[in-house]
């Protein structure tokens, strides 16, 4: 049960990050802020959950990072989606859609 929970957490974090980066390159702090803002605070990424996930995605070649000047002029490590990451995002989205539909069906049955 613990393993499933960890996998779900990890998987959802990866999907959230990949989906954001599909729109535009962002650096870590921006990713955390954007996720918090766009989910109205329902999802929050701490430093401890964000960076290991980013490094894992980078290791897999799904995202690529490079140092660039941010809007404030400071150098920040921007992450962008690679072609491989784009390819992975499609089945990942489909899997999660399926997962939520299944859960929704189950919850509906439980309420009936």
């Amino acid at each position: 049960m613990v393993a499933v929970s960890a996998e779900i957490k990890r998987g959802s974090a990866e999907l959230a990050i990949l989906a954001l980066l599909a729109e535009q390159p962002l650096y870590g702090y921006e990713i955390a802020k954007r996720i918090e803002r766009e989910t109205h605070g329902a999802l929050r990424f701490t430093v401890a959950s964000l960076y290991p996930t980013l490094y894992r995605l980078e290791k897999r070649g799904w995202v690529k990072a490079s140092w660039q000047a941010s809007r404030s002029g400071r150098r920040r490590r921007y992450y962008r989606l690679t072609p491989e990451g784009k390819k992975q995002l499609v089945p990942l989205r489909a899997q999660w859609r399926l997962f939520f539909r299944a859960l929704d069906r189950l919850a509906g049955v439980a309420r009936a």
Binding site: A3, Y27, G28, Y29, A32, T46, V47, A48, Y51, P52, T53, Y55, R56, K59, R60, R74, R76, R77
Partner: protein, 225 residues
């Protein structure tokens, strides 16, 4: 403004990665903390409180270090367990048994104390004196590759754990084979084996692991910049 790189470096400690990569990670984390700090300052929070709140973003630096190490090594939980526990544990086991054999071969045979005709205690003083070092080696190895405290403890005490499991697993077989011997007597034999081969060596091994159970380096005081 606090020195965020220094703060992040001191708290994160060594990642056992390529120095350039390690530096890049520390810099990136420091930038994140700095951005958090500035956010709090812009909201009117005093500098000292903003520093504390930024640092609160990482409640457990040791866990963050492990997660980063796992991410950088790019492998799954099974490989992590092999690296953190099984491998250092097997080395500890090989060293402890190998040394016992070596001492035996060199004439430093274990001393045997007969309790009765079935049960005896044995101990090898030179071996027991070396065991803390072997336990320390296992725990150090496990910590070095990102093992959690319980993995370090188990890696260091692995030989005693193996002996215990073996004795307990084979005890029912011994009871069946030596069915003419009373159960009480067989239990006393098992207890003497456990004491000589598991409890005493296990304590010596555990003594060696103690120095490596804490994460290293120690976290500095919260506002030490």
């Amino acid at each position: 403004m606090p020195n965020w790189r220094q703060l992040a470096r001191a708290r994160l400690g060594g990642l056992s990665l390529d120095p350039d990569r390690e530096d890049e990670i520390v810099t990136e984390l420091a930038h994140h903390l700095e951005d958090l700090y500035e956010d709090w300052c812009q909201r009117g929070v005093a500098a000292e409180e903003a520093t504390a709140r930024a640092l609160d973003a990482v409640p457990d630096w040791a866990e963050l270090r492990r997660e980063i190490q796992y991410a950088e090594q790019g492998d799954d939980a099974m490989n992590q367990r092999t690296r953190n526990l099984w491998l250092p544990g097997m080395v500890t086991l090989a060293f402890s048994w190998g040394l016992l054999r070596l001492f035996y071969w060199a004439g430093l045979r274990p001393r045997i104390i007969w309790m009765d005709e079935h049960a005896f205690l044995w101990f090898s003083l030179p071996w027991l004196l070396v065991l803390p070092t072997i336990g320390a080696l296992g725990a150090y190895w496990s910590r070095r590759v990102g093992g959690r405290p319980w993995e370090r403890l188990l890696a260091g005490a692995f030989p005693a754990v193996v002996w215990t499991v073996l004795f307990i697993a084979f005890f029912p077989v011994a009871v069946l084979v030596d069915s003419h011997v009373s159960l009480v007597r067989q239990l006393s034999t098992l207890a003497s084996f456990l004491l000589s081969s598991c409890v005493v060596p296990g304590a010596a091994l555990l003594a060696g692991t103690l120095a490596f159970l804490k994460d290293h380096p120690r976290e500095p005081a919260r506002f030490a910049a």
